[in-house]
Symmetry: C2
Subunit: 202 residues, 2 copies
DNA sequence: TCTTGATTTGACCAACTGGTCAAACTCACG
DNA sequence: CGTGAGTTTGACCAGTTGGTCAAATCAAGA
């Protein structure tokens, strides 16, 4: 392991390559289903070389998850109390849907982790995530109090947005097996738009 | 391996115990994350004994999946064109939600498989599942044509029902991390009821 | 009771996997 | 250049895992 001073150009390049490769592999096979050799091969490095940059398979996974959690929650973070309620919510939904389309690996990385009980990010869920969600449901509740949007259970509203949008990334194979050639995201965009407009219009 | 004649009482008992144990283990850790030893221990058998009843780990997994697919799709199968459209759809949704509550292991078993690209049930998806869904979306479309329910993209309507209901089983940890003590399924039932009533009322 | 097929298991094996290590190589910089 | 830190790797290791096998045990019908 090199000194922890300003990382070399090589260090930056290789660390990035490793994380990129790990995202591919972990998102496709889950933690247990992925091997260090696979990740190393995908990153174009030998296994010992990969382990020169990260101390363990676990460390790569953790680095990935914690690095991406912020990205993953950014759209919800951007939900702005001062904007127009319906527009804010719809734009949040569309942003999530775009993320499912453009960052499906990230979505599946989290899905893999969650479906197996989130052994490695359980803490982040009940601290960071819960805090953010509490904050934003409070905003939703105030909008409902003001009659700006229809009153529904705010937590389940958020769950439903997550479920609906991430479904297209996480269960992509199933969606495509059924839709065949049709592009899922076109129809999905229209569908969620009408769904939430009808639900939330007071 | 015993003769394939009418299975012994012992055979029935042990095969059932193995599948039950495998459901526990596979749904919690995924295929690759589960070991034959784990399943054997959970079933109260030695590993060689377990492999006396199933030729391989893969075979157990396949037997589980194909055995449960029917159960899993039963509610959609039950959607009846001759019933009242809104009631039929809502009752389908509630049945799916109950399955998430009562059969979370089954839900996670499929979720694990799907999120990793469904390597073992891809065929069943594009044949059996697609056929069933095509059939039922045709029913939905006819209802829409008759003005019985609002017109929305029928495939995405079904996807949304799957996503919403299964979310509570598959991402249980996340839901509970956020809701803390509140029972997820109580709020969820009310939420989806209003959601789909508003969406589908013409 | 005896016999035969069904059931069970301890011992074992080969492949795989995460991780180590010393030696070799490369690169930036004085 | 030369040199020392940074980088790379072949060889290796111990633990795990899916699966095998011959031998032992059990169960039920004749």
């Amino acid at each position: 392991m090199p000194k922890d001073r300003t990382p070399t150009r090589i260090q930056q390049k290789n660390r990035a390559a490793i994380l990129e490769a790990a995202l591919n592999v972990f998102s496709a096979h889950g933690f247990r289903g992925s091997t260090v050799d696979q990740i190393a091969a995908e990153a174009g490095l030998s296994k010992p070389n990969l382990l020169y940059y990260f101390p363990s398979k676990e460390a790569i996974h953790t680095a990935l998850l914690s690095g991406l959690l912020e990205v993953w929650l950014a759209p919800l973070h951007a939900l702005n109390e001062d904007g127009d309620p319906m527009e804010e919510i719809l734009s949040y939904i569309h942003r999530k849907l775009e993320m499912s389309r453009d960052l499906p690996r990230e979505s599946r990385l989290f899905a893999n982790e969650l479906v197996q009980g989130a052994p490695r990010i359980h803490d982040a869920l009940s601290s960071d995530l819960k805090k953010l969600v509490d904050e934003k449901t409070a905003v939703l509740t105030r909008w409902m109090d003001q009659g700006k949007i229809a009153r529904v259970h705010p937590y389940h509203l958020i769950f439903s947005i997550w479920a609906l949008t991430q479904h297209y990334a996480d269960f992509d194979v199933q969606v495509r097996a059924i839709l065949k050639d049709e592009d899922p995201f076109e129809g999905a965009g229209l569908f969620v738009e009408t769904l939430y407009r009808k639900l939330l219009t007071p």
